[in-house]
């Protein structure tokens, strides 16, 4: 079974626009999913500059899916979807 990868953007835009609150994922994910999910903090993913007009930061990538206006709940929901696919 492949691990689900979660990349949290720690670029300044994402962090300031709400991404700071996503740091809770570092506590939640290992507890909830053990080694089934790999969580990394990533430098700017570049999504804010492409999509700035829609102001959808913060962004998180779960496998290849982009979660915009990400919250802890939205990221967990996407992880569940990806796990269900396997």
């Amino acid at each position: 079974m492949e691990r689900v990868t979660v990349k949290v953007c720690t670029g300044t835009t994402c962090f300031v626009m709400g991404g700071a609150n996503l740091q809770e994922l570092h506590d939640i994910i290992p507890k909830k999913y053990d080694d089934k999910v790999e969580l990394t903090a990533s430098n700017c993913l570049g999504l804010c500059s492409i999509n700035w007009e829609y102001s959808r930061a913060p962004y998180v990538k779960v496998n290849e899916e982009v979660v915009s206006e990400a919250t802890v709940e939205k990221v967990i929901a996407e992880i569940e979807r990806q796990l269900a696919k396997q």
Partner: protein
């Protein structure tokens, strides 16, 4: 306080756009276009009835971002004109909060209301419990006469069907001193004579109607001038941005400032001075002393709690000492205090060594507008490294701890921590002042925001994570020197 959610996102986005407009080839034109850029023709309307209302409200929010009071806007002045006036402005205002009153329309007046759950029972406990004769029975159901009701809520507790409810107005409920009220017209307004600038209402309003009047344009103008502009960052900034505070120094300089000082540097002086004063006061037989570094608490003392003044430490705030040092070293520089606090705007206004105040949201917006990636920057150095205890000043308990650690006899300090000003804690403080005693304690630390400054209204990070990041960072800092 709540630092996420759509209204905060919206406020930050507007700040970014104002700053981008400032640095564009045509500030006035680009400011005028902010509502249209954010809600372009044909866009699906996210919150309100139509795109026109959305734009009108974004315009109002932009007025606050430019530093003007929304209440005084008569709708005929364009954002381009406001931008122009902001550029020409020489003075800032001492009124720090402004209310977007059109947002208040969606919010019912604060009252006690009998719902359809009322069974019209025979016992009528609501009627017999009301001391003001405000409840009568009409068509077999209870009805409250609002002119007689004192909102004591006795009837709510008396009704066995839970049929009576209090309709809340979040801004009014959140205000610890009754300074914000919805008036007969249904609009909320702030009584600035009563307001202690705690900023609760900005966080409490679900419509995001209460705004800080930003000084960002004044700060950007100062950067464009030939004067040095120096940032003084509050201790609570640790953990509010990506990277560490050394990378943050580089980021702040890249964003247009000339130098950065840690206000924790002044916190070391505050802690040592306060410890000395504490020993003197205890020696003179005083029962307790309270801290004096919280700007919200200082406003409370001035406006609502003068009786506690004799017990309040005369020691100045960390900002006071830091700004004094900066102005001594750079007499003609412009100083900007960076914090998550509305009340510090009032303190800054009253202190001639502090020229402007900006909050973490505004600094974040400046970084975004300037495309600064903090986590990828090299580290800068601070001329003076602050102590561990001084860097912990921004959370509840941190100030009392620093006073304790400043003394050789640490056990002489018996702290009482007031973690957040609300109606109950204010009542408690009043009692300490009138009794002249705080049982079992001799040092009362007061912080206006729950959790301390890390719970301030313009924080970027949530309190729990912020506290953890501060502790991780400061465990490698030196201990405070003893007096």
């Amino acid at each position: 306080m709540n630092n996420s959610g759509q209204t905060i996102h919206l406020k930050k986005e507007i700040l970014v756009r104002i700053i981008k407009a400032f640095f564009s080839d045509n500030f006035e034109r680009h400011t005028r276009l902010i509502p249209y850029d954010m809600r372009p023709k044909g866009m699906e309307v996210p919150y309100r009835c139509c795109v026109y209302k959305e734009r009108a409200i974004i315009k109002d929010r932009t007025i606050a971002g430019l530093g003007f009071p929304i209440e005084e806007d008569d709708e005929t002045v364009s954002l381009a004109d406001y931008a122009k006036q902001a550029l020409e402005r020489k003075e800032i205002s001492d009124k720090n909060l402004t209310v977007l009153q059109t947002a208040c329309k969606g919010c019912a007046t604060n009252r006690i209301y009998v719902t359809d759950l009322c069974q019209g029972c025979v016992a009528r406990p609501c009627q017999s419990t009301c001391k003001f004769g405000a409840i009568s029975i009409v068509n077999g159901r209870s009805v409250i006469d609002d002119t007689k009701c004192k909102k004591c809520q006795m009837c709510i507790n008396a009704c066995p069907y839970k049929a009576i409810v209090k309709i809340s107005v979040p801004c009014e409920d959140s205000c610890p001193v009754g300074a914000i009220k919805k008036d007969e017209t249904g609009f909320a307004s702030i009584d600035h004579d009563k307001c202690i600038n705690c900023g609760r209402c900005t966080a409490a309003c679900p419509f995001g109607a209460v705004h800080e009047r930003s000084q960002i344009i004044d700060i950007l103008k100062a950067m464009k001038s030939d004067k040095k502009v120096i940032a003084m960052i509050a201790p609570s900034i640790i953990g509010q941005f990506p990277g560490n505070i050394y990378q943050l120094k580089t980021a702040i300089i890249n964003s247009g400032f000339d130098d950065v000082y840690e206000v924790a540097q002044g916190a070391d002086i505050t802690a040592n001075t306060e410890a000395k004063e504490f020993t003197e006061r205890m020696g003179n037989g005083q029962n307790f002393m309270t801290t004096s570094c919280c700007a919200g608490y200082n406003q409370l003392i001035k406006k609502h709690l003068p009786e506690i003044k004799p017990f309040v430490s005369d020691t100045k705030t960390p900002l006071y000492y830091t700004a004094e040092i900066v102005k001594k070293e750079h007499p003609v520089a412009i100083t900007v205090f960076v914090s998550p606090c509305v009340a510090k705007r009032a303190e800054g206004y009253d202190n001639r060594n502090v020229d402007y105040v900006m909050n973490y949201e505004e600094l974040g917006a400046l970084f975004i507008a300037k495309k600064i990636q903090i986590a990828e920057l090299d580290e800068g150095k601070y001329t003076v490294e602050a102590s561990k205890q001084a860097r912990n000043f921004g959370y509840s308990g941190g100030v009392a701890e620093s006073v304790k650690k400043s003394l050789k006899d640490e056990d002489s300090v018996k702290p009482c921590i007031v973690n957040g000003l609300n109606k109950d804690s204010i009542k408690q403080l009043k009692k300490y002042a009138t009794d002249g005693v705080c049982e079992g304690c001799n040092l009362i630390e007061v912080m206006c925001c729950e959790g301390g400054c890390i719970g301030g209204n313009a924080t970027i990070n949530n309190q729990k994570t912020a506290k953890k990041l501060i502790d991780n960072f400061t465990q490698n800092s030196e201990d405070i020197s003893k007096i």
